[in-house]
Symmetry: C2
């Protein structure tokens, strides 16, 4: 076990004590600890596999879905990948101590604003046991102590992983209490953890809407919610339609189950007659079920596009291995607000960029929005008018990612506006403080 | 009245609509609106004075204290000062559109992180009617719509001030709904306002602990609390004691009722025998009541310092106009946690810089902390080890202030770690978004 203290409150106080020492550690010591964790993961792989086998066994007994079992499963190559990710985080620049800005005041005082760790970060997460290590590495690198609360499904896996991380880190010189796993994955532990305002500085949930709702109901500690991504791509009248076809297919199909995948496509009326039938055909080939507004249905009909009605299970492939035919259904109002996270797309026609912006402001979740255009005025209006973490011109929404943005790694993606917006990397796990130096300055 | 719509929800939705247009406005238009507000305040001074007279009359009937009546009172010169403050905010740089950072990614995508308004900011405040205008000017300059909720004590004054600001702003080209005063200063309106998560992005309370507690109990909208300032000055063993004397007196007496005033003085044992009697004498002359630990009492005794016992009302001046004698009492544990906001000081002796840091981490509120020293290692250890918004070396804590820090103005002082820490100026009223530009980029 990562720790022997018993209550959640005690664990958080121990983390708070550890955080004071962590904040003052040099980068080399932190990196050494991360490398020690990576090495220990490889070395102790049999132990991890054994614990994971127990969770898998329990999962099968509790009739977890195949998808959940796959998320829970660890094998040697997955453990190696987790260790590699820790090594990569060790190689990232240390955000702590970075001077954000500074100046000499008119009275001669020197002011620097310097990045410092937040202190204690609690991460609450669901099935995937790799989060235990990913989150730990990001928190330690940014000088924060971490309190982990996983789900009961991954009880044994998480316990071994947290113990390995804690032991390796402490051996490498990090303070005891820097990595703590709250025992018990119940709602009570969640509520207790979420109200430790004296010792916990931030809670980050990694999981589904149920977890977030449970947290929202009880948390008094600040939480950064990674809200859903109802992302839009808008094909403006002047768009390069070849590029638009590539971007639309990429944003929808490259990895449909993630938050930066496109969920609604908007097409300007001026190019709808050409682009709607064309993209419908390609979406059909890619197995995407499309929910279109009345103008989309009309454009499809006048293009004499063969559209079948979706089968009950949403299947759109023919039995004989032939390319799937398009499945096109009428969109309902609900479709514009739905994050499908699947090969389903809402498709609408708009009369103007202003109307596209208005649609996005009404239905978007503030994650990632894209305009495809050759018109500088349209691009500028869209970037100015759309209120979202990431606003793209002529690129796929799929790039919203800490790795892609050069942050090296991320612990989630914030759709909040306060503190962190977009990918939450090492810098976003930090606060800052003002350091002010004088030589006897008093205020007049 | 600033607005004719009725419910808090409707007012917030109107503010949300206005915020979209505000976010896209150029700096010149916003500055013009601020200057129009300043001019309207001067022009309509008689109207303001009449409304304020009604509040003052009601205040006297309700037996408000003289201090509260003074905070409520407006006269021509106070109105002129409020107008001047608006003019100064107009002259500050616009935070909106500022590129925070940016880069070209390896794949050729250009990424810029750009400051944008938060959207709708609610400011809830107590007696002082000038907050109506100060907060409005800061929010409009930073491109935010503002929803104001003042106290019933200043009902008529706030209503006229908000109406003047709203009318002048709209005439100058700002959208209707950009300035809204919630009618009614009751707890119900507060609860309704504090739960408008769909339309309000941030709530900033300006008032006492009662207001903050009331807000904490009901708010689901993010709040930035300006917590109390239990600020410390630590006189280290190597300190220049002449400078220390000036700084201690400044930090305690220059304006004792504000959050950046010193509340506890810590003195290193090595200089306590010399500095404690010396500073006690000066504090006594300045009318400061001192609560000392046992070592302070011993140093005072061995210096044969005349110390009287405090009178019941805390008065420390003699009746005949002679300089007041020192009032020194034993400190209790509670004193170390007390923000006096008055001419009272807790005074303790410590054995080391580590012990001073430990005391501050136990009792401080994370506002402003100072070390006075000539030793670079002590200065460095203190700045590294103290977790507070502002950590000073050889300067008074009184400098923690948006104006002093060159921000031009502030709407409060945050002791939170997330989003804003220290003075909340125009930048802190902003979020950011990523703007990403490509030429057909898709993710591999």
């Amino acid at each position: 076990m990562a720790t022997t203290v018993s209550t959640v409150g005690e664990q958080c106080r121990a983390a708070r004590d550890a955080s004071r020492q962590l904040a003052a550690l040099d980068t080399a010591t932190k990196n050494e600890a991360l490398r020690a964790i990576a090495a220990a993961l490889i070395e102790r792989t049999p132990e991890i596999l054994e614990a994971n086998a127990r969770d898998m066994q329990a999962g099968r007994e509790n009739a977890l879905s195949d998808a959940l079992l796959d998320r829970l499963l660890l094998d040697a190559s997955r453990i190696a990948a987790i260790a590699e990710a820790v090594e990569r985080i060790a190689m990232l620049p240390d955000p702590v101590g970075e001077v954000v800005d500074g100046q000499r005041l008119p009275n001669g005082l020197d002011v620097r604003r310097v990045r410092v760790p937040l202190g204690v970060i609690a991460v609450v997460y669901e099935a995937r046991p790799n989060v235990t290590i990913d989150a730990t590495a990001l928190c330690l690198k940014s000088g924060n102590a971490i309190v982990l609360r996983g789900s009961s499904t991954a009880l044994h896996s998480n316990a071994v992983l947290a113990a390995i991380a804690s032991e390796a880190a402490v051996q490498a010189g990090l303070p005891a209490g820097c990595v703590t796993l709250v025992s018990g994955g119940g709602r009570e532990e969640l509520a207790e953890l979420a109200t430790q305002t004296e010792t916990v500085d931030l809670i980050i949930p990694r999981g589904g809407e149920g977890l977030k709702a449970a947290l929202k109901a009880v948390a008094t500690v600040p939480v950064i919610y990674a809200a859903s991504g109802n992302c839009h791509v808008y094909v403006e009248a002047s768009a390069d339609l070849d590029a638009a076809e590539r971007i639309v297919l990429n944003a929808k199909t490259q990895r449909p189950g993630v938050c930066n995948a496109m969920e609604t496509l908007l097409v300007h009326e001026a190019v709808a007659a050409e682009f709607v039938p064309r993209i419908l055909a390609r979406l059909g080939e890619a197995g995407v079920l499309v929910r279109g507004d009345t103008r989309v249905l009309a454009h499809a009909a006048s293009a004499a596009l063969a559209a079948s009605v979706a089968a009950e299970d949403g299947a759109s492939r023919n039995g004989d291995g032939a390319p799937p035919s398009l499945v096109l259904e009428p969109a309902t109002e609900e479709d514009w607000d739905t994050e499908y996270l699947a090969l389903t797309l809402a498709l609408g026609v708009v009369d103007s960029t202003a109307q596209a912006i208005e649609h996005i402001s009404r239905h978007g979740s503030g994650h990632s929005e894209a305009i495809l255009t050759r018109d500088t005025a349209a691009a500028r209006a869209f970037q100015l008018g759309v209120d979202a973490a990431c606003v793209y011109v002529n690129a796929s929404t799929r790039f919203t990612d800490g790795g892609e943005f050069g942050m090296g790694a991320e612990i989630g993606n914030s759709t909040q506006k306060l503190h962190a917006r977009g990918p939450i990397g090492l810098r976003e796990l930090c606060a800052f403080k003002y350091l002010i130096e004088g030589d006897g300055h008093v205020r007049a």
